[in-house]
């Protein structure tokens, strides 16, 4: 068994920032990650980091834009924390040497992004995430922070009290990818989940193949509620063949969208008469699909994004990476012709419910970054707000886990005073196929643990995970995970996409149920203990199934149109009934649905919901 004060799971932007913060606070911290840190998906972020750095801008404006962008489903204390803290965090990155793009006077450059009232998106060409990831990894090396790389975390070691808020997380169970060894990791002070996105729930996504939502699924099964899962962001400009992202920076710099007839449809058809291409991402994604559905798409699939008029010099200076992506993955020379683009899954606004200190309702369990829902993005994330979230909440989780007093959080977690139960009609039973059996095999909560000490909890979790792996390996002629995964991904893309309607959502639940039943027979053909990716993908597939179901349940229950969540049957935002967060708790294999109100009270003001117009 390994032991550290703080264990960070995942080594993307949030994980690295959390580890640096915990160490600054004096903790003995280690990172456990299924990828080497420089391979993390934060490296693929292109556009930039929002921070109010300049005269004429203010954190209050950043907070307001974010609340409006969220379609009033963000929690004000978290949003204000984001807006207030991101300037110092961005400057901190500069002080760590990050290669930001520069203005003539040598200061860092900023550019306009969708939904922002000020050009506050700080950037490094169209490779901001790459520069950020490497800059933070350099700091990790400098500080000598321990990294267990290519260790896949299989499970959390959480005690088994009845109510999740009485439970404690004592550590994690890791699987050494290279050797196949399974080891417990005890965390004296806390575990921080920073496992990133879950884009692999869909088959057309900008997310890496590794983005299987492991942290969200693990926390969910350990009893931590997951929040606002129905809000999946579809990015309007992804390459049709692969899902590779074309940064919003292209539109920020003045890129134009055209339909097949060469019409600038954002204006021509009135989708966003004020902001055109720079309307918020949900608005542009729907506009593109409407064009395609109306027969004005190209090859009935995509639209054109044109940046030729920006000129070679400006493109090379600010968007060079886009030229490479268009050429390598679509065979298009974007200096000479427009790029084909269509909406693709990009970001999960929802995730593990946390407060503004990154804490979940389970004692000692934290989450930060895309896997978490501190509730800063609400129902739609603004471009350029994911990277500040990583560093702001990564840092806070790190400091807090290591013992720094950040003051009491205003966002509440777990079932506190103001929760209300929810109900939804489903065509098939959601949750585990055989709840009792599964609780032993793969749920995180320890069994009969009331008399155990911390180390024993980790040992028990390690034994349980070992048994689980053995049973998967024993079934070497079972169903192949790849097939099951593909079925879920296709169903989600067909039924739970940009446009949603009741029958399709119900069909998705049936498909997911079928996948779950198929998964009962899943087995691992590769019998090797050395670098067994067959085994790991089998484990990831289970996470994909649980999260696909959570997204669909949320989408089915939310009978309104808000942000990224568009419902055929409900074409209005319904503030009277739906100014609240959707939560799901996994109770011994059975998903329980409940709600809690949105917090619109900020530090000095109350954010009044207004119609979003762009």
């Amino acid at each position: 068994m390994y032991e550290h004060d703080v264990i960070v799971v995942g080594a993307g932007g949030a994980g690295l920032r959390a580890a640096i913060a915990a160490q600054e606070e004096g903790a003995d911290v280690a990172i456990v990650s299924k990828l080497h840190p420089v391979r993390s998906h934060t490296g693929a972020a292109e556009g930039g980091i929002n921070a109010a750095l300049r005269e004429g801008d203010s954190w209050e404006d950043h907070a307001y834009d974010t609340m409006k962008g969220s379609d009033y489903l963000g929690d004000a204390p978290a949003i204000e924390t984001l807006a207030k803290t991101s300037p110092e965090e961005v400057i901190q990155l500069e002080h760590w040497g990050m290669a930001f793009s520069r203005e003539e006077d040598g200061r860092v450059s900023q550019r306009p992004f969708g939904g922002l009232s000020f050009p506050r998106t700080t950037y490094a060409g169209a490779e901001t995430g790459h520069q950020l990831l490497h800059t933070m990894y350099e700091q990790l090396v400098k500080r000598g922070i321990e990294v267990y790389d290519e260790w896949h975390v299989l499970d959390l070691a959480v005690s088994d009290e009845e109510a999740p808020k009485d439970r404690t997380c004592h550590g994690v169970v890791g699987y050494d990818v290279q050797s196949g060894n399974i080891e417990g990791f005890r965390a004296r002070d806390g575990v921080i989940l920073a496992t990133g996105g879950l884009g692999q729930v869909y088959d057309h996504t900008t997310n890496a193949v590794s983005n299987t939502g492991d942290g969200v699924a693990m926390a969910y099964r350990a009893g931590a509620p997951i929040e606002d899962m129905e809000f999946i962001q579809f990015h309007p400009t992804t390459l049709p063949s692969t899902g590779v992202l074309i940064s919003e920076g292209v539109r920020g710099e003045g890129g134009i969208l055209y339909n097949e007839a060469g019409e600038r449809f954002m204006f021509e058809y009135g989708y966003a008469s004020n902001d055109g291409e720079l309307a918020s991402r949900d608005v542009v994604s729907r506009a593109e699909l409407n064009e395609v559905n109306a027969g004005r798409g190209i090859e009935d699939e995509y639209v054109h994004l044109d940046m030729r008029h920006l000129g070679e010099e400006r493109i090379i200076d600010r968007l060079e990476n886009i030229l490479h992506l268009a050429a390598d993955f679509e065979g298009v020379d974007a200096l000479e012709e427009p790029m084909p683009v269509k909406p693709g899954q990009h970001y999960a606004m929802g995730g593990i419910e946390t407060d503004e200190n990154g804490e979940t309702c389970i004692s000692g369990l934290y989450a930060a970054g895309e896997c978490a829902c501190a509730s800063v993005h609400g129902s739609n994330r603004l471009g350029g707000n994911a990277l500040p979230e990583l560093i702001v909440f990564g840092a806070r989780a790190g400091y807090h886990a290591a013992g720094r007093d950040l003051g009491e959080a205003e966002v509440t977690t777990g079932k506190r005073g103001d929760w209300e139960p929810g109900e939804v009609e489903t065509p098939v039973e959601p949750g585990a196929v055989e709840p009792d059996v599964e609780a032993d095999a793969s749920d995180a909560v320890a069994d009969g643990g009331s008399g155990l000490d911390s180390e024993e909890f980790v040992e028990r979790a390690t034994e349980r995970a070992t048994e689980h792996v053995e049973s998967l390996l024993a079934n070497d002629e079972g169903r192949n995970h790849a097939e099951i995964r593909a079925e879920v991904q296709q169903s989600m893309t067909e039924q739970v996409n940009v446009f949603r309607e009741e029958d399709a959502l119900k069909q998705a639940l049936r498909d997911i149920r079928e996948a779950r039943e198929a998964y009962q027979d899943v087995g691992v053909a590769d019998q090797s203990r050395t670098f067994n990716t067959d085994l790991l993908q089998t484990i990831e597939t289970r996470n994909i199934i649980d999260l696909a179901e959570a997204i669909t349940l949320g989408a089915l229950v939310r009978e309104e149109f808000r942000g990224a969540h568009w419902r055929q049957e409900y074409q209005e935002r319904d503030d009277e009934n739906w100014l609240k967060h959707t939560l799901l708790s996994w109770n011994d294999g059975s998903p329980e649905l409940w709600f809690k109100p949105v917090i619109l009270e900020g530090e000095e003001k109350r954010y009044e919901p207004k119609i979003r117009s762009y």
Binding site: R39, G97, V141, E517
Partner: protein, 296 residues
């Protein structure tokens, strides 16, 4: 119970509730056998179909090795015939082969957009990122092997520890004594200076350059092109200041540093991010000479 089940359309799931555990077990075993048979049939059919329709498939010869599994301990090449679609990359083909024909086929990959650097392999005799290599640019059969000059862990996966150690041997982090006053003030950097270091910051640690370098192959202590490029990134950054530059040049001038480079340009040739590695190494040699000549 917060969820309600409406119209039960799936009679299998309602049956399962009434069944006893052994019956359910039996049913699962039955299903499993049936599926295994179906899958085997499908695999054979797919292979046969792919092999028949020759103009629509690509022939891959893929290196295989697993130290643990009897029958795979001897390195060998496996043939895969993968149905081709326009735009298909080597990575797409490997994933198809793995997901359809042999789930034990092992390789690293993640972002599939040339930024995570994890799928560098030796394809038709050259180090390349599989995700940005179009099959249509390659001659058949496409030979896919692990990166040369590194220990093979399994199939196409190599041990990168040595590569990481070299990357971390050059103090690969920004060091400056010149931070501006005031919390929210950044250090100024000229556009020209950012432009100068820009290419060097694009390294994604894929290891292709190190694998292609003859000198690194013969001298295990040679820092290698990637690590030297990492040092270049900081040495040339004006924000670090002169003292730090001297310190960095000392690291680079050591016996297994820049002077080992024999300007064969193989690193530059294979770099998937077009970093002018050889030029950067030569520039550092010049800086080192200049700094040594300074007091003469």
């Amino acid at each position: 119970m917060s969820t309600q089940v409406s119209d039960q359309t799936d009679d299998e799931s309602s049956a399962s509730e009434a069944e006893t555990a052994p019956a359910a077990q039996q049913r699962r075993m039955e299903k499993k056998r049936q599926r295994a048979a179906e899958a085997a049939e499908k695999r054979q059919a797919d292979e046969a179909e792919a092999a028949l329709a020759d103009e629509e498939t690509y022939h891959l010869k893929v290196f295989r090795y697993d130290p643990e599994i009897e029958g795979k301990k001897e390195p060998r090449f496996d043939d895969f015939h993968v149905p081709y679609h326009k735009g298909m990359t080597v990575l797409d083909a490997l994933m198809y082969a793995r997901d359809t024909y042999d789930s034990s086929l092992t390789f690293r990959h993640s972002c599939r957009q040339a930024i995570c650097g994890s799928d560098a392999m030796f394809v038709n005799g050259s180090q390349r990122l599989c995700c940005k290599t179009q099959l249509s640019d390659l001659e058949e059969p496409v030979r896919v092997e692990p990166l040369p000059h590194a220990e093979v862990v399994k199939d196409l996966v190599v041990d990168l520890e040595h590569f990481y150690d070299q990357m971390e041997a050059v103090e690969p982090y920004f060091q400056t004594n010149d931070l501006p006053e005031g919390e929210l003030e950044e250090q100024r950097q000229s556009r020209e200076n950012r432009e100068k270091v820009k290419m060097s910051t694009r390294c994604i640690w894929c290891g292709a350059c190190m694998s292609s370098c003859n000198i690194a192959a013969g001298d295990n202590e040679y820092l290698g092109p990637a690590a030297i490029n990492k040092a270049y990134r900081f040495t040339m950054d004006e924000r670090e200041g002169e003292d730090m530059k001297q310190q960095r040049l000392e690291i680079l001038e050591q016996e297994h540093g820049v002077w080992r480079c024999q300007t064969q340009f193989s690193c530059t040739t294979v770099c998937p991010k077009d970093i002018p590695l050889t030029e950067h190494i030569q520039e550092l040699k010049r800086e080192a000479v200049k700094s040594n000549l300074k007091f003469w």
